[in-house]
Subunit: 338 residues, 2 copies
C-alpha cells in the first residue's frame, strides 16, 4: 500500500492532510481512519438556542427557508438535490454539503472560504441566492421577539442580540451534530463482526487503491483541499473553480475541499456539482479521474458496501418550538410587492 | 349572554354548530368551550410512519417541500405567511391553516372540500401550486425505497405501497397533533388561578359579545362554516369565495370554515387571506364585520390576553430520520430541464 500511495501523497497532500496522516499510527487498528467521538455539550443553553435558530425560517427574507431547508437533519444533513433551492426558487450554484460532522472540516464551504462554523453560519443568511436576508434585518427580527430576547440574554448576558451571538449559537448547535457508532467505527474499535466479508474487502480496496490519500482521518475527508481531476479532467457544466476563488492562486483552480464520507449513504447526490446520483457512479468516477483506476463491478460494489458502513448514529433531536413573533416583528416578504 | 346571542345564533348557526352548542351544558364550568383531551395513540407504528411522510420532501416534485413546510410544527402548525409558497415559488391562493387540532374540524380546507384528514392529505401532494407531484409518482418513489417498503409492509400487511396507505398514515400522525393543557383549559377544569384578571375579563368579553357563536366547542372553532362579513362586507383582494366552491349554492358564497382559535398566538397572520398581521387587528376586524361592535383598546387588549391563554402543549416530536433513496429512486426535479 505504501509504495502505491507515495507518489500521489507527495503530489497532492496539503499540510492538513499530512497532519492527519501523522495520526494514522495512533488509530486503533493502525488504520488511516479514526473512530468518531461523540460531542460533549458544555453549554446546553447555547446549543438549545442554536437549534431554534437552525430551524427558524424567519432568518430568511421569505420566512420560508431555514438552515435545515438545505441541511436537512432528517436526510443526512443535506437536501439530496444536485444544487440547492434558494430565495425565489433560485437555482444554487453548488451542491449543499452535509452539516453532519462539519466541525471536523479544515474550513467551511467547498472552497473553504469560511474558516470555521461560526463564520460559515452568517453566509447563507445574507446570500441573495439563499436566504436573501441581511444580518441587520435578521438581528432586528430577533430583537423584536420577547422569547428570543430572554433566551439570548440568558446565554450571552447582553441586552441586545447581535449577529455574533447568532452565529455563535448556530455553530454551537452544529458542533453537536457528530455521528458516532457507525459499523465501521465499531470495527475500528475491535469488533471483528461489525463488518461483513464484502464490506471489509471493500474497505481494503478503498484503502489500498489510494482513496485514503484524501479520504482519511476522523471524518474520512474534510481535512484537505484537493484537485478534482488528478489523472483525468473532470467534465462538468458547473462553473465553480474551487479554492482559487479564495486564494487567487492559479494552482488552486479546481481544488475543492475533500468531502467527508461519513454518512455518505445519506448525502447523495455527490461531488460539488451533484452530478453523481449514486455511490456506485461516484466510486467509478473517483477511481477514474483521481486514481486512473477502473474498478470492476464487483470491486465497485464492495467499496459501496464499505461506504455504507460509515453511517453513524443520526442526531436525535426534539423539534424546537419557536418563540412567536410580536406585533412589532417585521413580517417576512416572500413575494415581490404588487 | 343568552339574550344577546340568540338572534345571531338563529341567523348563522349551522347544524354542526348547533350540535356543538348541545355540549355546552356538559363542559366543566358550563361554558361554550370544552377542554382539549390528549390523543391516545392506538397504532404507534402507523403514527411513526406518518411522521416520516410528514417530514419527507420527496413527496414533492422538487424534493424540497414537505407537509411541514407549510404546516410547520415548530410554528404552531402553520407557516406564518399570508399565503403559502409552493412549487417554483408559486404564491398560494389562501392562508395555510394550522394542522394542530385539525382532527376536530368539521371538514378540511377553508372551504371544507375534504371530508377528513385522510382526504385532505392527498390534496397538496398533487396540487401544482403546492407540492406539484402526482399520487402515482409519489407512490413510485416510496416503492423504490427499501426502508419505506419494509415499514409500510409492517403497518399495512401489503406488498405494495399505495396512496391510500400514504394518506392513512399521514392522517394517523396528524390526529396526534392535539394541544391540551392550555391555561384556559386549566381554568375550565377548575384552576381559578390559571387566568389573570385581565384574561378572565377578556374571556367574558369574548363570550358575552357573541364571538362564541362561531368559536365554540373543543377547538374554539373549526366546527362550522360561517359567512365572512355578517354585519359588514369583508374587503379583500383575495378571490376565494369559500364554501360555494364546494356546494355550488349561492348562499354559501363567502362562507368559510371557522378557524380554530387554539394556539392562535402562534398561527398569525389571520383570516383566509392572511390580511390581519396581529391578534389585535383580527379582534378589531371580527368585532366590526361579524358583530357590528367596536371594541375599545382596553377591551381589545383583554380579548387578546384571553386568546393567548389558548396556547396548549405543543407536540414534542423527535425529528424522524428518513430512509435513504435507493439507486432506483427517481430523483427530484426542482428546476425545469435546460
Amino acid at each position: 500500500m505504501k509504495l502505491k500511495l507515495r507518489p500521489l501523497v507527495a503530489a497532492a497532500m496539503t499540510v492538513a492532510a499530512l497532519a492527519s496522516a501523522a495520526t494514522w499510527a495512533m488509530s486503533p487498528n493502525n488504520e488511516p481512519i479514526s473512530p468518531l467521538v461523540a460531542h460533549k455539550v458544555t453549554n446546553p443553553a447555547m446549543v438549545e438556542l442554536g437549534k431554534k435558530l437552525w430551524f427558524d425560517p424567519r432568518l430568511s427574507k421569505s420566512g420560508f427557508i431555514s438552515c435545515n431547508s438545505c441541511h436537512n437533519l432528517s436526510m443526512g444533513g443535506s437536501d439530496n438535490l444536485k444544487t440547492s433551492i434558494g430565495h425565489n426558487w433560485a437555482e444554487g450554484p453548488i451542491n449543499s454539503p452535509t452539516v453532519l460532522n462539519s466541525s471536523l472540516n479544515v474550513a467551511q464551504f467547498w472552497d473553504g472560504r469560511a474558516a470555521n462554523l461560526k463564520e460559515q453560519a452568517g453566509g447563507p443568511i445574507a446570500n441573495p441566492m439563499e436566504m436573501a436576508f441581511t444580518h441587520e434585518l435578521a438581528v432586528d427580527m430577533l430583537n423584536s421577539i420577547p422569547g428570543y430576547l430572554g433566551e439570548f440574554k440568558q446565554v450571552f448576558k447582553k441586552d441586545k442580540i447581535d449577529i455574533d451571538q447568532v452565529t455563535d449559537a448556530i455553530a454551537a448547535f452544529e458542533e453537536t451534530l457528530v455521528t458516532p457508532n457507525s459499523r465501521f467505527d465499531k470495527w475500528l474499535k475491535g469488533d471483528q463482526k461489525a463488518l461483513s466479508k464484502d464490506e471489509l474487502e471493500g474497505y481494503k480496496l478503498f484503502r489500498d487503491s489510494g482513496c485514503v490519500a484524501c479520504h482519511n482521518g476522523t471524518a474520512v475527508g474534510g481535512n484537505s483541499f484537493q484537485r478534482m481531476g488528478v489523472v483525468e479532467a473532470y467534465k462538468t457544466n458547473n462553473p465553480a473553480e474551487g479554492r482559487v476563488a479564495v486564494t487567487g492562486t492559479d494552482a488552486d483552480r479546481f481544488n475543492f475541499k475533500v468531502p467527508t464520507l461519513r454518512n455518505v449513504e445519506l448525502t447523495y447526490p455527490y461531488f460539488h456539482d451533484g452530478a453523481a446520483d449514486t455511490l456506485s457512479e461516484a466510486v467509478d468516477t473517483m477511481g477514474r479521474i483521481q486514481l486512473g483506476k477502473k474498478f470492476t463491478p464487483q470491486e465497485n460494489a464492495k467499496i459501496v458496501a464499505f461506504l455504507k458502513t460509515l453511517t453513524g448514529d443520526q442526531p436525535q433531536l426534539t423539534m424546537p418550538i419557536l418563540p412567536p413573533s410580536s406585533d412589532k416583528t417585521p413580517r417576512p416578504q416572500p413575494f415581490a410587492k404588487k
